[in-house]
């Protein structure tokens, strides 16, 4: 067996896979959050829908998105493999459980948190990704008056829409796009879905508070001078800012 193959079939190597895919997903979250902040713009989704088009049609980003899908699948798959392996390492469980006496709750329940997140990702993609890619969202035309800079938005009937288009005519700039923004507005009218999103973001927070810094541990990175930064990022960026940022979106639309 080659050295690499040996490495990846070891328990350490499997954790390395978890670590690398996990960290990649963390970086994605930053990009995703920053992009989605455009939902808070009061422009009837003009910027957001343009951004959605860009993210789905720009070559390099498409490649990254496939990496992303793969990471989600590999992360979940390896979690399953490791969980089964770990169960096998203790075939007879203890009668008495220590609870929180020696380990934090989230660190012991990453599987449950991860499962919540997987269900969330499936729901999330079905609601938006699937509908966006399968023409199940409304269409919209934005008209920008070049002189005044005034923008108006008009819903487009499905039969008139061919594809995303930007063109100028008679001093007016037209943008025709799939209206993912509308779909967002629509989806977050559902209180159950909003509640589920908020719950999932709580799970995300717990998952990342443990997961982010643990990923560095699995990589073997625990330099005394830099680990405080990792801990800070793990708790405040990935455990607080990102989940709150994401949770704010369904709440914003629900209460808007």
């Amino acid at each position: 067996m080659s050295s690499f193959k040996e490495a990846f079939s070891s328990t350490l190597g499997k954790k390395l896979v978890m670590s690398l895919t996990g960290l990649f997903l963390c970086t994605f979250l930053i990009v995703h959050l920053i992009g989605n902040l455009q939902l808070f713009k009061n422009d009837e989704g003009f910027a957001f829908n343009q951004y959605a088009y860009f993210m789905t049609h720009f070559g390099p980003i498409k490649i990254v998105s496939y990496l992303l899908y793969a990471s989600i699948i590999i992360h979940a798959l390896y979690a399953l493999i490791l969980t089964l392996h770990n169960k096998k390492a203790r075939p007879i469980p203890y009668d008495q459980k220590p609870g929180n006496k020696n380990a934090a709750w989230n660190s012991r329940n990453m599987g449950i948190l991860g499962t919540v997140l997987l269900v969330f990702i499936a729901t999330h993609m079905a609601n938006f990704w699937w509908k966006f890619h399968n023409d199940q969202v409304p269409y919209i035309q934005y008209e920008t008056n070049i002189e005044t800079g005034q923008i108006s938005a008009i819903e487009m009937p499905a039969e008139e829409f061919t594809d995303y288009k930007e063109f100028s005519q008679d001093g007016v700039e037209y943008v025709q796009a799939r209206d993912l923004y509308k779909q967002v507005e629509f989806a977050f009218e559902n209180p159950i879905l909003v509640a589920f999103y908020v719950l999932a973001m709580v799970a995300l927070s717990f998952h990342l508070i443990h997961g982010f810094k643990s990923a560095f541990q699995s990589l073997g990175f625990d330099n005394k001078k830099w680990i405080p930064l990792v801990k800070f990022l793990g708790i405040y960026v990935f455990g607080v800012i990102i989940p709150i940022g994401f949770a704010a979106m369904p709440l914003y639309f629900f209460f808007k």
């Binding site: 050295s3 006496k101 020696n102 541990q217």
Partner: protein, 258 residues
């Protein structure tokens, strides 16, 4: 010192041998002094059992000073009992109260099969160390001890890793029955010292390979091992092991000598 006595209910795992099924047996322990160590309490129970003609409870122990690492016992959900930073032999009955029920289980891990009652087979630890936990020097023919200055901070850090007593509480505490705290402490001691550099990369690979072959679980960084370690071995050892292992596998030419 205020010595008092108390009565306890013990729920103890009894298992005749490795092949037979075990079960919990409830035993009343009466007149237990708060000054007794936990193992002395079991001695008293065993003397009573023996007088009644019943098989005494088998448990591993030896030095009773907290250093040999032979004592074990999973007490009320925690290896070495409720007090942190101590072995079972140094745990005293004043940590319990009158009328309490104490559940005593053996270490649970596929790699630590139960031999009898509360005693488990920990020879997996020996085999991991045999795989590479040494510096290959023969007796004699070594340089003068002071030929090799070692910075005090490094020497102290190596000592912190070397202080592991090999009791297996880390495995017992880990929800995955992972042995990484133990293995990494052993790897670290040598990784930190200049004497260990010649075999550093082959050692990390050999010991990790043996650890996996023994069927221990993976680390999910719950830190239960660190919390329960009676001698305070730190999680940073595991990071160092990971680093050395990946370094060895991905960048170094040294391989494992079988």
């Amino acid at each position: 010192m205020s010595e008092t006595t108390m009565n306890l209910t013990l729920k103890i795992w009894r298992q005749k041998n490795q092949n037979e099924k075990g079960r919990f047996v409830t035993i009343e322990a009466k007149g237990i002094s708060t000054d007794m160590s936990f193992l002395e309490m079991l001695d008293v129970v065993n003397e009573d059992l023996t007088r009644k003609g019943e098989d005494p409870i088998y448990f591993d122990h030896d030095c009773r000073e907290g250093i040999c690492g032979m004592c074990s016992l999973y007490i009320n959900g925690q290896p070495h009992g409720p007090k942190h930073g101590t072995t079972t032999c140094q745990l005293h009955m004043r940590s319990f109260h009158d009328g309490q029920t104490i559940v005593i289980e053996p270490w649970r891990a596929a790699a630590f099969p139960v031999l009898k009652d509360l005693a488990v087979d920990r020879t997996a630890f020996d085999r991991i160390q045999q795989a590479g936990g040494y510096v290959s020097v023969n007796t004699g023919g070594v340089p003068d001890a002071n030929c090799l200055p070692i910075p005090k901070v490094k020497a102290d850090e190596a000592f912190e890793s070397a202080t592991c007593i090999g009791c297996g509480a880390c495995v017992a505490a880990c929800k995955n029955a992972s042995a990484m705290l133990f293995v990494s402490a052993k790897i670290s001691q040598y990784a930190l010292l200049p004497q260990g550099q010649a075999e550093r990369w082959s050692r990390a690979q050999a010991m990790v390979e043996q650890m996996d072959a023994e069927g221990f679980g993976a680390c999910t960084v719950t830190k239960a091992c660190e919390a329960e370690c009676p001698v305070g071995i730190k999680l940073t050892n595991i990071a160092r092991m990971n680093r050395d292992y990946f370094n060895a596998k991905f960048f170094k030419e040294e391989t494992v000598h079988h």
